[in-house]
Amino acid sequence: MNRLIDMFSSHFLRRLESLSVQSRQEFRTLRKGDRLASISGSSIEFADYRKYLPGDDVRHIDWNIYGRTERLFRKTFKEDIDISTHILIDASRSMLYPRGEGKFDFARKLALALSYACLTAHSDVRVAAFSEAENLRDGEGADRRLGTPFLSRRSGIFAISEYLEGVIPGGKTDFGGDLQRYLGRAGGRRGVIIIISDFLFEVEEARRGLNLLRFRNFDVKAVQVLGPGEFDPFRDLSSAELIDVETGSRKQISVTPGLRRGYARGLKEHLGSLRDFCRANRIIYSLARTDSDFESFVLRRLTRIGVIK
C-alpha cells in the first residue's frame, strides 16, 4: 500500500518546503526557534531600550548612553521563538459520508501536507484525530486520540503519515468535549491549532469548542471539508428515508423544488454562521470541496488566507 506521503508529487513537496504555518500570535517557548518575535528575548537582534531596573543584568546596560546622559538604560533584544502546531483531524463517522467522495482522505492529506510544511520549517508539529469512537486505538491498544508526539525533524513526516493511515473514522463527534480532552492530554504547549473537520454539527457546539481554544490562547485555524454530495444530495434521489450515520436519527423526505430550495438555504445558513463566527473571532476559516484540486487548495487558497505562507 502506498504511504500517504507518496501520493504527493515531488513538485508539490518542493513547493511545501518553502512554506510554513503562520501564526497571528507570538508565544514564548522554551525551545528557541527560527522565528524572531517582537517580544523581548535573548537573541542578538536589537529590539529597544528601556530604563534600567534593579535586578537587570548589568551586561545589558548601554554604557555609551550613560556616558552622555549619566542615566542607566539597558538594551533589549528580540526573542527567537518556535511555533508549536497542533493539527486536529475529525475522525467521526460523518467524515466517511457521502460514500466515495473522500472527505476523510482529503482531510488527512491536508493534515499531512500542513505537517510537512511545519517540519521543513523546523517547527514542532503534532497531529491527532478526535472522535468519540473507541476504535481510534492502534493494534497495541494505545489510544490514537493522543496523536503523535511533537515532531520537529523532517523524518517525522513518516511517523505522521503512518499515524494518519492507521486512523479509522467512527463514532460521533462531541466537538467541545473532544477538544477539552485533547488539551488535557496534550499539556499546555500553546501555539497554532488547525482543526480539519466537516463541522456538520450544531454551530453552537462549534462555537463552544473554538472558544475553548481561543481562551487557552491558541491561534485557531479551521478548515471545513465537504463533499459535492453535501452540496447537491438530490442526484438520483426522489424520495428516501435519510439516516444520520452518527446519531442514527431518521427523516423521510420527498424531493420537491421546495425541498431543494430549503436544503440550499439551510446549507447556506450553516456555512454562513460558522464563517461569521470565525471572522468575528479572528479565526482563519476555509471551506474545501473534495472534488476541488487538492494542490491548488493548499498552495493557493491556504496561502491566500494566511494559514501557511
Partner: protein, 654 residues
C-alpha cells in the same frame, strides 16, 4: 372505414407499460440513504412518502407515449375504406411455393421473403367478406387457411410460414387449389375463384389474367453450385478399413466454379479438396477420411457460398459396419454349406443359421441382414432383407410364374452398387429363374432371358426404409468355386455389401418419419421405424414425440436439412437429411409452371367475373414509427438537459 391490425399480437408489447410503471414505482419507493448529518435537513418538513411513491413526471408521460407508439407500430394498424356491397364476394386461392429454391438470396432479401411480401399485398387488396384459401406448397401441400378473410390471422400465418429445405410439390398444391375451386361450384357459388401462385418457377404468361390465374414470379436466374449427393460406402467385410465417401458436386452456372469441398466431423476439419468445375459439369469425388467411428456425424461443405447456401452443405452418418447375416434354410443344408464356406473366407462376415422351428419373435434379433432361402420372414425384421427364390405367394413381390427354364443372364445395371464388376456374368449358365411382377419399390439390377421373355433375376429397392433384395434364381444350385461362376459370387458379395451399408441412415428432406408399429410399411411410402415410444429430435434440438399417449400416431416430416435423432427407450438412431434435388439446386433453368401435368387451368376459368375494386388502405406503421423516433429525440434531449442541469445548492468552495 374499417380499423384493424395486421399483427394484433404486437399489442402484447403494451405489457411493457406495466414494466415502465414498475420501474417508476421502484424509483419512488422508499429508499434508505445514509448521510453524514441531518443538521442541514433539520429545518425541512418531514414528508411521509408512503402514499406518494408514484409521482410520474413529464419524462414518464413521454416514455409512456413512446411505448404506446412502439406497440401500435408492432401491431401494424390499418385503416380501410369499405367496399361496395353490391359486388359479390371474391374467393382468392393463394399458393405459396415453399420449395428449397425459394431460399435463394437475391439482394438483401430471399425469394421467399419477396413472395411473402407479394402475398401480403394481395391479401391486403381484399375487402371484408371475401374468402381466402392459402395453400403452402412444401414437401406436402397443406391448406394453411381457408374461410372469410381475417387479416390479423392471415398476417400471422404468412409471417410464421417459412420455406422448407425440401422439394416443393407445386403440382399437388395446384391440384388442391383446383379442388377448392371445384368445391365452390358444388356449393353453388357463381363467382369464379382467382388463383395466385407465388413461386420462382417461370410461366408462359399466355392470357393468365383473363383466366383469373395470376403468377407472381419471384427471383431471377442465378448461378449455383451444389452438393447433389453424399454417400458413405463402408466396407462391411473389412470394418477396420477406411470409410470412403462419395460426394457429387455440380456446377449449375454459366461460369466456371472454383471452390473447396471440405469434410468436417463436428468442429474438426478432416480434409479439403480444391475444385474447378466447368459450366454444367458434375463431378463425383472420393473422400477418404481417417478411420470413422460408428454414428459419427460427417458434414461436407462447399465454399464459397452462393445464393442458395442450403445445398452447399450435406450431411452423412457413419453406420456400424459389422456384418452378421442371418440365413434361413428351410429346404435342406446345401445352401448352408455354401454360405459357411463364404463366411470362412471373408473376415467380418459372421453367419448364423436359424432353424426352421424358431419362433418369429427371435427372427428380428438385431441382425443387420436377414437372408431367407426359399422362404420369407413371418413378421417384420429390423435389418435389411435378402430373399433367395422366395415362394410364389410371398408378401414382398408377387411371382408371375413358378419357374422358367432354361434362362440365361443377359444384362445388369452397372450404376447400382450390386451390379458392379459383373463382367462375364452373361457367360454363367443359369438353370432357371422365377418371374416377378414389377413393383414400385423394386428396380431390376440383373436381367435374364427366358422362353417367356426377359425377366428380372435380381431386384433391389428400399421398402419401408429397409434395403431389400430378391434373387429370382436358385443360388444354391450354382457351384461358386469354379472361376467361370465367379461373377455370381461377386454379385452375391455386392448384394451383401449393399444390404449392409448405409441402410436408413440417410433420407431426403421432405420424407415422412413415422413410427412403424406392425402395419405394412409399403402402404405409407415412408421410413417406418419401430420404436416403443418414438420421438424425434430435429436439427434445432427440438424434441417431438411421434406417438401420443393415446396411441395415435402423428407423422413427422423432415423439412429441414441436418441431423435427426430418433430416440426410444432402446436407444438412439441418427438420420442425415439432405435436399439432393438437382431441380431445386438448378437456379438457371426454372421449370415452366404450365408444364406441371396436374395443373388444371380450366378449373379457374369458369364462373362469373367479379369486378376488381381498388381499395384504399392506409397502414399506420410508418407513421407511428416516425412519431416514435421524433418523441425519442425529444425524450433524449430533455433527459440530457436534466442531467446537465446544475444542481441546486452547489456553491463555489469559497
Amino acid at each position: 372505414m374499417n380499423l384493424g391490425f395486421f399483427n394484433a399480437a404486437g399489442l402484447a408489447y403494451l405489457a411493457t407499460v406495466a414494466v415502465l410503471i414498475y420501474i417508476y414505482y421502484r424509483l419512488r419507493k422508499k429508499r434508505r440513504r445514509e448521510i453524514s448529518s441531518l443538521i442541514l435537513w433539520k429545518n425541512l418538513r418531514e414528508q411521509i412518502i408512503r402514499r406518494r411513491r408514484f409521482r410520474p413526471d413529464f419524462l414518464f408521460y413521454l416514455q409512456l407515449a413512446l411505448l404506446l407508439l412502439l406497440s401500435l407500430a408492432a401491431a401494424r394498424p390499418y385503416l380501410r375504406a369499405e367496399g361496395k356491397s353490391e359486388n359479390p364476394q371474391r374467393h382468392l386461392i393463394l399458393v405459396l411455393d415453399r420449395s428449397a429454391s425459394m431460399q435463394t438470396e437475391e439482394g438483401f432479401r430471399s425469394r421467399w421473403e419477396r413472395a411473402r411480401e407479394e402475398a401480403r399485398k394481395t391479401i391486403r387488396s381484399l375487402k371484408r367478406g371475401d374468402r381466402v384459401t392459402l395453400i403452402g406448397a412444401g414437401a406436402a401441400p397443406a391448406i394453411l387457411f381457408t374461410g372469410e378473410i381475417d387479416f390479423p390471422r392471415l398476417e400471422e400465418i404468412v409471417r410464421k410460414t417459412e420455406a422448407t429445405d425440401a422439394t416443393g410439390r407445386l403440382g399437388e398444391a395446384l391440384e388442391l387449389a383446383a379442388a377448392a375451386a371445384g368445391k365452390d361450384r358444388e356449393n353453388g357459388e357463381n363467382s369464379a375463384c382467382e388463383l395466385h401462385v407465388f413461386t420462382d418457377r417461370r410461366n408462359s404468361g399466355e392470357g393468365a389474367r383473363s383466366e383469373r390465374v395470376f403468377f407472381h414470379r419471384v427471383g431471377r436466374d442465378r448461378p449455383n453450385a451444389a452438393i447433389t449427393a453424399l454417400e458413405i460406402y463402408p466396407d462391411p467385410f473389412f470394418p477396420s478399413r477406411e470409410t470412403p465417401l462419395y460426394a457429387t458436386v455440380e456446377n449449375f452456372s454459366r461460369q466456371s466454379f472454383h471452390g473447396t469441398l471440405s469434410l468436417l466431423s463436428g468442429e474438426k476439419s478432416l480434409l479439403h479438396r480444391r475444385l474447378e468445375l466447368e459450366p454444367g459439369e458434375s463431378r463425383t469425388l472420393r473422400l477418404n477420411p481417417e478411420r470413422s467411428r460408428p454414428a459419427e456425424k460427417l458434414v461436407a461443405r462447399l465454399t464459397p457460398s452462393d445464393p442458395l447456401p442450403l445445398d452447399n452443405t450435406a450431411y452423412a452418418v457413419v453406420n456400424d459396419s459389422a456384418v452378421r447375416p442371418l440365413l434361413l434354410a428351410p429346404r435342406g443344408g446345401r445352401i448352408v454349406a455354401q454360405w459357411e464356406e463364404i463366411s470362412r473366407a471373408i473376415p467380418g462376415l459372421k453367419l448364423e443359421v436359424l432353424r426352421t422351428d424358431t419362433s418369429p419373435a427371435s427372427e428380428s434379433g438385431g441382425y443387420p441382414v436377414h437372408v431367407y432361402y426359399r422362404g420369407e420372414p413371418r413378421g417384420e425384421v429390423d435389418g435389411s432383407l435378402l430373399l433367395i427364390c422366395p415362394p410364389m405367394g410371398n408378401r414382398f413381390l408377387r411371382a408371375a410364374d413358378a419357374w422358367l427354364a432354361p434362362a440365361r443372364f443377359i444384362d445388369w445395371d452397372d450404376d447400382h452398387p450390386a451390379g458392379k464388376n459383373l463382367t462375364g456374368l452373361d457367360q454363367v449358365p443359369l438353370g432357371g429363374c422365377r418371374r416377378f411382377e414389377p413393383a414400385s419399390w423394386a428396380s431390376p439390377v440383373v436381367a435374364a432371358a427366358t422362353a417367356k421373355g426377359d425377366v428380372a433375376a435380381v431386384l433391389c429397392g428400399e421398402r419401408g426404409g429397409r434395403r431389400t433384395a430378391i434373387v429370382g434364381f436358385d443360388l444354391a444350385a450354382l457351384d461358386l468355386k469354379p472361376s467361370r461362376n465367379r461373377p455370381v459370387l461377386i454379385l452375391l458379395l455386392n448384394l451383401l455389401r449393399w444390404l449392409c451399408g448405409g441402410g436408413g441412415a440417410s433420407i431426403r428432406t421432405g420424407e415422412l418419419i413415422t413410427p412403424g408399429t406392425g402395419s405394412d410399411p409399403a402402404e405409407s411410402g415412408g421410413n417406418r421405424l419401430s420404436f416403443e415410444e418414438p420421438a424425434v429430435i430435429d436439427p434445432q434440438g427440438k424434441e417431438r414425440r411421434l406417438s401420443e399417449a393415446s396411441g395415435n400416431q402423428s407423422p413427422f416430416r423432415a423439412e429441414q436439412a441436418g441431423f435427426y435423432t430418433l430416440r426410444d427407450s432402446g436407444g438412439e438412431t441418427l438420420l442425415a437429411a439432405n435436399l439432393f434435388d438437382r431441380e431445386e439446386s438448378n437456379l438457371l433453368e426454372a421449370g415452366l409452371i404450365e408444364e406441371i401435368p396436374s395443373f388444371d387451368r380450366d378449373a379457374f376459368s369458369r364462373g362469373r367475373e367479379v369486378p376488381r375494386e381498388e381499395e384504399k388502405i392506409f397502414e399506420g406503421q410508418g407513421l407511428f414509427l416516425s412519431l416514435f423516433l421524433a418523441l425519442l429525440a425529444v425524450e433524449w434531449s430533455l433527459f440530457s438537459l436534466r442531467r446537465r442541469k446544475r444542481p441546486a445548492g452547489k456553491e463555489r468552495a469559497e
